[in-house]
């Protein structure tokens, strides 16, 4: 293991002029080198966070437009207009693509990973700062390419985020000759950005830990981001190959997915889902890590069975490579294969259930304070369980025959992805905001935002479970053509979901106000406002360039709360025994 000192000198080469983010005078770096071309992990983390959140706002706006079309088909949608079928398809496709690749991944993995890993490990930067900067620049380019794809002739790609060929491969079928190619290029660039970032996260966690920090002293969120990065790197290769084959089919007329010329459309589905299912856990695990940090701090409890959580994460990660074909039960694969994938899929509930049990057990005997971040963390668990149990219906091959491609599926995965990409993201932002910006968020506004979001979220997706049970199939521009689906009860449920969405979006303005108001007017944050143990709270809030005045040593695990030998109910990792 390399000593941190070596790594630090390496990192310092890159910002020899930086002596703290708030340095004034003629030593100050220009705006460009400080905020745009910075190699500081915190700045890169912020770049990822703000880019990701901006993309998230676009994705949320898209959902507003198509939900309005669902509830009031053919009507003028305020701020958009009448939604044509082509626009509708493009909106749902890009909503899914954005929320997973341009919101969940950049914020959960890249933003929190970049900001937290060096701070929580007690070092001054990532081991490859320039590679880190390159990763963000490629990511930014990918976002620009994606946005550009909506404004080319023919409009944005509308073949769903899964992009099944032949629809995605041939412009005479999808009618978006440029949009679909730009979409593939954007996604491929995004993958490259995250491959580079992943190398950095894993290498940093393995090599740059504070002296004395053993493997089992690493905070859970760092572990989870590392495991997620490994999962991503191991699963994305086949899909990058698949994406290039798709691009060749689109642009130079190859026939990888064209049955007429010996290709096979199902090949794409295997490559896509071999990546796509581990991807679910790529974003889940960092979210779980964030929740683990928050729950231990605000219940003042040691994490129940730290090693078990770690092993369940490994177990989930490995199992996630053997479940992909549950997306393809009725896709025309050999029906006998479904039996194998039903077994693996239902069994993945074992490590995930164990993880949830451990979190519940951590609350036992605690001293629970319901701060805003804690509410978000608890909300994650309460809601994610719904996503988990409804997955069992879909993993059961026999039941999936009916549920496949209905709104039941949609409601199910939103009960996993909204807890991941929205609830856990808010948990993380509200928890680390004092560290990031040196100010406290307003608790009252935070709680109003929390309850408005959580209640409205359930108001959106509980009705959609019901429309799915009633037979609403996905990606339909207008249900009026289907007599069994065009009845009053179904329209009531769709409208209920849409109104709930509008309410949810309205409550996000409260968060935005709170975020920017508190930057200037929030109470000044001390270095450790939550009395937490992990090393990021040793650094000043916000941490200057180089993070720590003196690099900390580590003496114990991250969750020694309420230790019986101590008066104080916390025991920072850097405090000598």
């Amino acid at each position: 293991m390399a000593t941190p000192a070596q790594e630090h000198s390496h990192a310092h080469d890159d910002h020899a002029h930086g002596h703290g983010a708030h340095d004034h005078g003629h030593h100050e770096m220009s705006f460009w080198s400080k905020y745009v071309f910075s190699t500081d992990h915190k700045i890169i983390g912020m770049q990822y966070m703000f880019t990701g959140l901006a993309m998230g706002i676009i994705g949320a706006f898209f959902s507003y437009v198509f939900r309005m079309q669902m509830a009031y088909p053919g009507h003028h949608v305020p701020l958009f207009g009448v939604v044509s079928p082509a626009e509708y398809n493009s909106l749902i496709t890009n909503h899914g693509t954005i929320m997973i690749f341009w919101l969940a991944m950049p914020v959960l993995i890249a933003a929190f990973g970049n900001f937290l890993i060096p701070l929580m490990l007690g070092c001054d930067d990532m081991v490859f700062p320039r590679l880190n900067r390159l990763s963000y620049q490629i990511f930014l380019l990918s976002a620009i390419v994606l946005i550009a794809s909506w404004f080319v002739p023919g409009g944005g790609f509308g073949g769903a985020w899964t992009a099944y060929p032949p629809l995605s491969a041939k412009s005479q079928y999808n009618l978006t000759p440029m949009g679909s190619s730009l979409w593939v290029i954007a996604v491929a660039l995004e993958f490259i950005a995250f491959l580079i970032g992943g190398i950095n996260f894993v290498t940093t966690a393995m090599n740059s830990r504070a002296p004395g920090m053993r493997m089992f002293d690493i905070p859970m969120v760092v572990w989870m981001i590392v495991i997620a990065s490994i999962l991503f790197m191991a699963s994305v290769g086949p899909l990058i190959a698949g994406a290039f084959m798709l691009l060749f089919d689109q642009l130079i007329g190859t026939g990888f997915y064209d049955p007429v010329r010996g290709g096979d459309p199902i090949l794409w589905q295997h490559l896509f889902w071999f990546f796509g299912h581990p991807e679910v856990y790529v974003v889940l695990l960092p979210a779980v890590g964030i929740v683990a940090e928050i729950i231990t701090v605000f219940s003042r409890k040691k994490m129940f069975a730290y090693k078990t959580v770690l092993y369940t994460a490994f177990g989930t990660g490995i199992l996630s490579f053997f479940v992909w074909a549950h997306h393809q039960f009725i896709a025309g694969i050999d029906p006998r294969m479904a039996n194998v994938f039903t077994a693996t899929t239902v069994l993945i509930s074992i490590p995930i259930a164990e993880m949830m049990f451990v979190f519940v057990a951590t609350l036992y005997g605690g001293s629970i304070e319901l701060t805003t971040p804690m509410l978000w963390a608890l909300g994650f668990i309460a809601e994610f369980i719904i996503g988990g149990v409804t997955g069992i219906f879909l993993g059961s091959s026999g039941a999936d025959i009916y549920f496949h491609d209905t709104y039941f599926v949609l409601a199910h995965f939103h009960y996993t992805f909204v807890p991941i990409a929205v609830i856990a993201v808010f948990a993380g932002i509200t928890y680390w905001y004092p560290k990031m910006f040196g100010r406290m968020l307003n608790e009252t506004l935070g709680k109003i935002h929390y309850w408005g979001t959580i209640i409205a979220f359930n108001g959106i997706f509980i009705p959609l479970f019901l429309t799915g049970m009633g037979g609403d199939h996905r990606r339909i521009h207008n249900y009026d053509n289907f007599p069994e689906l065009a009845n009053e009860r179904m329209y009531f449920l769709r409208e209920f979901a849409t109104v709930s969405l509008v309410i949810l979006l309205f409550f996000q303005f409260i968060f935005i106000v709170n975020f920017f108001w508190s930057l200037k007017n929030g109470k000044k944050a001390t270095a450790n406002p939550w009395n937490a143990n992990t090393l990021e709270w040793v650094a000043p809030s916000p941490p200057p360039h180089g993070n720590f005045a003196e690099l900390p040593n580590c003496y114990r695990g991250p969750y020694e709360y309420s230790h019986p030998d101590r008066e104080q109910d916390f025991w920072p990792q850097n405090e000598p025994a």
């Binding site: 044509s84 082509a86 398809n89 509308g158 073949g159 629809l167 079928y173 999808n174 009618l175 049955p259 007429v260 459309p265 003042r300 040691k302 069975a305 090693k307 009725i330 025309g332 029906p335 006998r336 039996n339 077994a343 239902v346 509930s349 074992i350 259930a353 164990e354 049990f357 451990v358 519940v360 057990a361 609350l363 036992y364 605690g366 001293s367 629970i368 319901l370 608890l378 309460a382 719904i386 149990v389 069992i392 219906f393 059961s396 091959s397 026999g398 039941a399 025959i401 009916y402 549920f403 496949h404 037979g471 199939h473 339909i476 053509n481 289907f482 069994e484 689906l485 709360y561 019986p564």
Partner: protein, 226 residues
């Protein structure tokens, strides 16, 4: 709670699928309620009180791990029950083909369904075949084999009242089966996104008694021969 309250059961296997969904619902519902109950119970029971310090529990000792380990094993038991039940239904519906009484060809394209009925001779690809667009006629109580073909992109053949769904793939012929148990007219949906007209692929399935079906066949044949 059951699917049958939302949409009618009209095939021989619809009830099996609904019962499977119900079984899964009961098992996961039990765990859901239990976990949420314990979860909220603990939040209330251990809310912060001045002067009360949290307990120090590592969760690494055997008697502590039991609290997670035992529920965990019970979840495994439930999983096994669900897997067995799911596979049994699946094998019946998708993996085995009962002998056919009739065969019908279903052709999907952007954006229409064509159906080739065997006609009076009961054989496909003969001159008396009856071809229809967006309307499929079947006899109640007869085992049908359907042969799915696509002319362009992926589609999916879904008859919700039958609880039947099967993707349609260009370059392949996929065979499946159903047996209608009730007469009536119901929706056929395309459930795989297939371009801008994806919502314009509704068709209707007309389930008739043998007498009605024969009369329809005769009328179609008469029209065709005129």
């Amino acid at each position: 709670m059951g699917i049958e309250h939302y949409i009618e059961q009209a095939s021989s296997y619809a009830a099996d699928i609904d019962n499977l969904i119900f079984l899964v619902g009961v098992l996961v519902g039990f765990w859901f309620i239990l976990v949420e109950f314990v979860f909220f119970g603990l939040i209330v029971a251990y809310r912060r009180r001045p002067g009360v310090k949290a307990q120090y529990i590592t969760g690494e000792e055997k008697h502590q791990k039991r609290w997670v380990g035992i529920p965990h094993e019970l979840v495994l038991v439930c999983d096994v029950v669900i897997i067995i039940a799911a596979v049994r239904v699946w094998v019946d519906v998708k993996q085995t083909l009962p002998p056919a009484g009739e065969t019908v060809r279903v052709i999907a394209q952007q954006w229409a369904w064509s159906f080739v009925h065997a006609g009076p001779d009961g054989k496909l690809d003969t001159p008396d075949d009856i071809k229809t667009v967006d309307e499929m006629h079947v006899k109640v109580g007869t085992v049908y084999h359907f042969k799915l073909e696509s002319r362009d992109v992926l589609h999916s053949f879904s008859v919700p009242v039958f609880r039947l769904k099967q993707d349609v793939i260009p370059g392949r012929e996929i065979t499946g089966w159903f047996k209608a148990t009730k007469t009536g007219i119901h929706d056929i949906q395309c459930t795989e996104i297939c371009g801008i007209g994806h919502a314009l692929m509704p068709a209707r399935i007309v389930i008739q008694t043998k007498g009605e079906y024969d009369a329809w066949t005769a009328a179609q044949t008469a029209t065709a021969s005129r």
